[in-house]
Symmetry: C2
Subunit: 446 residues, 2 copies
């Protein structure tokens, strides 16, 4: 029997299954303009998650900041994630806080701290203390900072995961799906393993000639997640790293394991998402989304892009926004951004901004196409302002007002009722208004 004292420790998933509507579900329902019952039912069905570690929900005493919960799943608007984090070569705690702020300013719904350099515990703590968006991590990164991969013990892994859960991390990427028996499938690949977590675990498995420890310890990890209500984001360690490797045997072998782990996570009462590729050509995106949803029991799909061509380093926010928009249209719920620095360097704050905006475009365009009620209202409003040549209103409604205003005022004064693309005399919108007025007058007099 579950007494009231125990009830409070149940996860959003467990409560949903028990029929309870939590304050977090209420909040998500309000934000998405949906009935709370629908949010609850989607969570209970494993189709929606609210990444919300109880410690982050409670908030930080010093900063006064606490988590503002969001929902991720097909029933709600598409969400985007921004990866930030220090590397051994660059960045510091304060710089990461700036990136967090830029990410949120430019639309990130969640932020992942992927630091592999600096004082990782401190950076993570700092970010959670200042973030009202859910924070995700890949715990294996911090396990190997002072250690060789091959020296990692089961205890090292579990204690790191537990420590991060206690800090208030809302979702964990856990690469439990890449198995020892999958590794031979990688040998024919052009790019091998491009997931950092995947390659670390592959090295461990090869060295010890043993199974993936995160797979072996999945129940223990689930127990930690359940305790704090950390949401799983099952990592795809074998995601394709180039078009040539897309939709190959290695990718889909791991996907089968991920499907199995989704069920095990739910059995353990833990909320669960699944991560996906990577690099996929346009013609394979729909198939990939449908296949994942089928194999992973409709768990929310969290994709990285996908990048749809490999030859544009420096512009991968664009190559991948194309893939992300299509992925979100066909089945993904959650888009991990890619910045212009992808494949080249650690993103700067400016890269974070560019990545967020490209992904906000992809998410919003997909939501309109999916027919999410009200999604197009914003577009209709800016179009009305455009039709009225109301520039102030256009800037106000533009996602990045500052940039729009700057480009407009390059050619004409900010008060001008036209832009210098056509000039005032040949402005199509102005001419169109004249035509419409004459036609209306003519039709009236007829």
């Amino acid at each position: 029997m579950v007494g009231p004292g125990k009830r409070i420790m149940a996860t959003q998933y467990q409560k949903a299954v028990a029929g309870e509507i939590t304050p977090e579900m209420q909040q998500v329902a309000k934000r998405e303009k949906l009935p709370p019952e629908e949010i609850r039912d989607e969570i209970a069905a494993g189709k929606l998650v609210i990444p919300s570690n109880r410690i982050h929900l409670k908030g930080n005493d010093e900063t006064g900041v606490k988590l503002d919960p969001i929902g991720i799943g097909r029933a709600v608007t598409t969400k985007i994630n921004a990866n930030i984090g220090a590397s051994p070569d660059s960045s510091c705690k304060e710089m990461e806080l700036i990136k967090l702020r830029w990410a949120v300013k430019y639309g990130a719904d969640t932020v992942m701290d992927l630091s592999t350099g600096g004082d990782l515990d401190e950076i993570r703590q700092h970010l959670i203390a200042h973030a009202s968006v859910p924070i995700g991590t890949v715990p294996i990164y911090s396990m190997i900072v002072d250690k060789n991969i091959e020296d990692l013990t089961y205890d090292d892994m579990l204690s790191t995961i537990a420590a991060q859960a206690k800090q208030g991390v809302d979702f964990f990427t856990i690469h439990a799906g890449i198995l020892r028996e999958h590794l031979d499938l990688v040998s024919t690949r052009r790019m091998g393993i491009v997931s950092r977590g995947g390659s670390i675990l592959a090295k461990w498995m090869t060295y010890h000639n043993r199974q993936n420890p995160l797979y072996e310890m999945f129940d223990e990890i689930s127990a930690i997640c359940r305790e704090h209500d950390v949401t799983y984001s099952l990592g795809d360690g074998l995601r394709p790293g180039c078009l040539a490797d897309a939709s190959d045997k290695a990718q889909f072998a791991e996907l089968e394991t991920l499907g199995e782990l989704v069920e095990r996570a739910h059995d353990a009462g833990v909320q669960c998402m699944v991560e996906g590729p990577g690099h996929i050509p346009i013609d394979q995106i729909e198939m990939n989304m449908k296949r994942q949803q089928e194999i992973c029991h409709d768990a929310p799909f969290y994709v990285l892009g996908p990048v749809v061509t490999d030859v544009f380093p420096g512009y991968d926010h664009i190559t991948s926004a194309i893939g992300a928009a299509m992925a979100a249209y066909y089945g993904a719920s959650f888009l991990c951004y890619v910045t212009p620095a992808e494949h080249l360097s650690l993103p700067t704050a400016e890269d974070v901004k560019q990545g967020c905006i490209a992904y906000k475009i992809a998410a919003h365009a997909a939501d309109i196409a999916r027919g999410i009620p009200g999604a197009r209202d914003w577009d209709d409003a800016i179009s009305a302002a455009r039709a009225e040549l109301d520039w102030e209103k256009q800037f106000e409604l533009a996602f990045d007002s500052e940039t729009a205003k700057k480009i407009h005022s390059r050619g004409v004064s900010p008060e001008a009722d036209y832009c210098d693309m056509c000039g005032r005399r040949w402005c199509a919108v102005r001419l169109s208004r004249e035509v419409m007025r004459s036609l209306a007058a003519k039709n009236k007099s007829d």
Copy 2:
């Protein structure tokens, strides 16, 4: 009877129908790695065009520059166009030449001079004299520089079109499909008419209460086009200017007329493309492409984007690259770029660069997805270099080497065999190589 003296004046279309393979068809075949017979047959079927005004093909005596012909159609790789041109508020002849050079450097297959300010004849002449890519124009723009729209006579229109054909323009946007009877369909629109040519003609029609003069004079215009082998690009004066207007009655009414004009162009021996939207949500792109191909007898479809959300002015190169990639995958042959300045200002040379790159991404990604033979080779080559951590080779193969190199060297020295995204120690590619080597050794010893 057609004697040899007459033969030389026939268009690529007429020659293809007669079974002839021209040097231009040979050249396109070579570039596309296809048999010349296939190029000829596609042209004869109206499915492919080689915009190549005889005067531009002959070349300019002063500059020594002549047209290097390209093919546009579904049988060949997707092409992209860059719009440049002075406006009454900004730009000059030399600036337009710089934009032409940037456009070509960053991958534009054709360039349209949309000038509405400055000495239009001089700018156009200057661009043709320096361009080895096909040059397109919208002749109606230069008709109204010194005149009120309502004062334009049939003779003004024909003589301007003839003069531009004599200058060597390779393709003309002619808005002959927007009819008087379509205008009432526009009254319920949110954005009205957003095509500059469309709004000019609508004003003329409304003022005179007469049919579209370009429609009335279509045979005369065709005769001019045939004389110099100027390719039609039938303008869509009623293209939707926002998502709310996409796929509406006005758009599709005009499309029916465009389908009729394609046949009339072919009957007149003139090569012909059709222009398309504009602003379309993701879920309507496939339908729009299929419908156009059906109604327009598979004439190459030349789309402007489409933009898939209206609320990101300043980033419309990205919103529209998403639409363009999908359009090219589903049926378009030719993508007119949109720059970050769209809806706001005349593009600068930097905007031209950004627009071209976004569209090169869309075109190339679509070509891979369409299974164009060899399209992915470039991607496979850069992926191989990436797998080998060969940075020099990656930069060499990157579409914009300079930018890729700059971002990489932000964090580490140019000679480093890693990047500062993961740092050297946790570089997934390096770890993956180690794993693959151990596995290979193990498998060998087994």
